[in-house]
Amino acid sequence: MTQPELAELSRFLFEPLALSLLTVSMVAYLYAMSARHVPRPDGTVATSGRRAEQAGFVLAVLGTIALAAHIVVRTLAAERMPLGNMFEFSTIIALTTVVVGLVVVVGRLKRPDLMGFLLLGAVLTMGAALLVYTEPGPLQQVLGTSWRAIHVSAIVFAAGLFTVAFVFGALYLLRDTAERHLRASMPGGSVGAARAVDLADDDLGTVPQRTSPDTVEGDVAELEEQFGKEHRRRMRAAIDPVRLAVGTLLGTSAVSWVFWVEGLRAGQDLFGSGFTRFVTVDIVMVLAALLARWAVPYLPSAATLDAMAYRTIAFAFPIWSFAVITGAIWAEQSWGRYWGWDPKETSAFLTWVAYAGYLHARATRGMKGRNAGWLAILAFGVLMFTYYGVNLVISGLHSYA
């Protein structure tokens, strides 16, 4: 096959193939999540949930294969490793998210109920990748070193893990709001009884106070039985949809404005396609947030979600640190300076500081739980800004060697 044919095939494997497979898989998983939790009047659980989950799994595996095939074909088309531009980074972030979801979350942790949201994260990342689509092409020579390959793959892998952690962290905050509300409204309930479980260390010698995750889940399962449909309604009601929508809109806009500014910079009209991208990203994120609100009653307990977010970040953080270090080594080799505070380096450092802040917040008693959760969201915002903002806007301001 010729290069243009390969390029076309790789594009087809990405979109529509992988994108639609993963989207349908996402719908199946989300359906399964809801169906498996809703008891029938006779007390049994619908089997359609299990079947939908199996279908979702098969589709997700096929989608992953299509995405991996896309990367292979694109490698052939460009005749180099596909780690050269934003489209390629996004692809690998999405692949990381799906693979971590299938292997760790579904396979090891047996948490298929979270897979729908991980797929949502992957699908959104792929959608955003299409906004910055680049034809496969050659790289600048300066980029052709093995340090770069190590650096970039570590960065992209860590970014994929942070995406997974963001999904957990955002769901945790929603679920926690609902659980608190429920507990507060229950006779004899006390706010904040469920505490983060594993995690963060106590000081030398002291004993942590904690509740086992099962106690918490047990409580909620009991509630579920007690209240059924009413219970679900009340959990959702705990989250004001307008506040959620406005908050998501503002939070997303803190990063997505770069699409607009990029359009203006490219000489578009004020409401040109850059503006359309900006608005589209915002609307999609608001819809995703409202979807998560609907799913709140079906989610694992807040404590579990919090623990999963923490563990994912704790896993990704050393990888990110390693990536920043290899970046400095590469800079020293290529430019004779290991650190120059250029926007890319600065923001990679900033992301590192933000996640270090999160880990610290988890280690400090009294800062656990929600505050740390918000810090995880903020840190992901910093990461996204590092990624989209610096690439699209800042380096357009003044470009570097």
Binding site: E135, G137, P138, Q140, Q141, V142, G144, W147, V197, D198, L199, A200, D201, L204, G205, V207, P208, Q209, R210, T211, S212, P213, D214, R311, A314, F315, F317, P318, S321, A328, I329, E332, Q333, S334, W335, G336, R337, Y338, W339, G340, W341, D342, P343, T346, S347, V353, A356, G357, L359, H360, A361, A363, T364, M367, V382, I394, L397, H398, Y400, A401
Partner: protein, 543 residues
Amino acid sequence: MAWRWLTRMKTALIILAVLGVQTLLATVVPQEPNVPATVADWRSGVAGPGTAVSQVIDVFGGYDVYGSPLFLALLLLLFTSLTACLVPRIRAFWRSARHGRPPLSRNITRQEHVATFASPLAADEVHARTRTLLARRRHRLRSADADDLGDGQVAAEKGIVSREGGSLLFHLSFYVLLVGIVLGQLTGFLGQVGVVEGSGFTDTSQAYWSTQPGRWWGYDDHTDFQLELDEFRVDWVRDVRFGGTPSLFEADVTVTEADGDVRTDTISPNVPMVVDGQKIHLLDWGYAPRIVVSDGGRVVWDGTTTARVTDDGSFRTAVKAPGADPDVGLAVALYPWAPPGEDGTPQITGAPWADDPLLVVAAYRGDLRLDQVQDVNRLDTTGLDLVDTAFVRLGGEVELADGTTVAFPELSRWAGLQVSRRPTVGLLLAGAALLLAGLVPALYAYRRRVWVRAVDDPAGGSMVTVAGRAFQRPDAFTGEFEDLVPLLRQELDAVPEDGPDDHEDAAPDDRGTDDAAVAVTSPKGGDASAPTTPTSGEEKVTT
């Protein structure tokens, strides 16, 4: 009081957050050390948010965040806080590493994880073998003979040294990095120089176009090597779709070191040449047109200029000829590939390959004010009068309106080399390695305690109780504990289980009665009487 405030981790978090905000500012606002030209444009209002905002930015040192007093003060505060926080931690860690031993358990059966089984060995032997096994599995031990607490027992703990030690190593690596960065700044050197093909330069402070010497760097620290640029090669993917991405970029050089050693080498991106511990990188390049200016038949300028690339793909330079009367100044733009169109007028393509080079000159007359510091590649046209504009092809000559002629006989290229001395990279690399080496155990080493108590059975052998507790990740500990128990049983020659899953079926009240049965209780095991938090009484045993 202030010290106490500094020792709080929350304080460190706040300082980190402020540093983060500053860093964010530095991403958005151009930084003078990186892009002085952009900063100049912001200051003058040509670009950016305007002069008023620019002044505010200047007040806060926003154009050089990392050199601003505020940033340095915060950094100092952070390191003070870090020190305040680390000193007690190190002390406690040292004490616990030397003397710390796990506490005995007063009520072993009330731990979170408990298993019991019978062993044919006497209690003392059970304890001895347990110690050996757990020591081999890197536990720290404490044992008590019978009487101390009724019965003898072995208490074991692991993970604490790696976890806390890792965390300390991680935080201590910041000091190594700080020393490496500051010392590197003080003693390092960075210099840029452009060299035209076929010529060279000598490593002295005058030779460089620009330098960033460290404060402790002196003239004497130059090693006076000489470098000749023998050949410079550059090529591109000649496909407009990819905007002329460079595909080849390398320079053959000959270096004569101060001691007379002569070496030839090829410098390319990512492959610097190392001379006396200094790295020479190839970072920049441009065209070097030779331009000859004659005024009334007299040559007033004949020289090779170093034109630099600009955003539109042209290469700009200037000619300043004070020998004419009045002075002649040329603003020069070189378009490397500007083939003639249908009607003969040049078609400017913006491509960088010199297939059809075209020199566009704007000639000025007046006082060039060469006594002032100027950019060699830029003509300051204030106070000068525009005489004419014209274009010249390679090998051609053009006569301007006032009779001045401009000739373009030759085109070569120049390579931008950077010479850098970074004496502390090794230290920084060590600091980075420490950081990672500390971070991994700080995050992944889990602290666990295990207790084993054997009580002699009057009928021979002993009854063994194993208990455990996790300080992190209790969910994972459940599995670890279930792995440890069979291992201990094997070591203690206990009657083997019938099947691997046997104990799951064992009723709790089988405990201690049926030799073959093992009861493992865990939080999931449904032993309602086991509290989820251990009693605090047993902790007191340690002290």
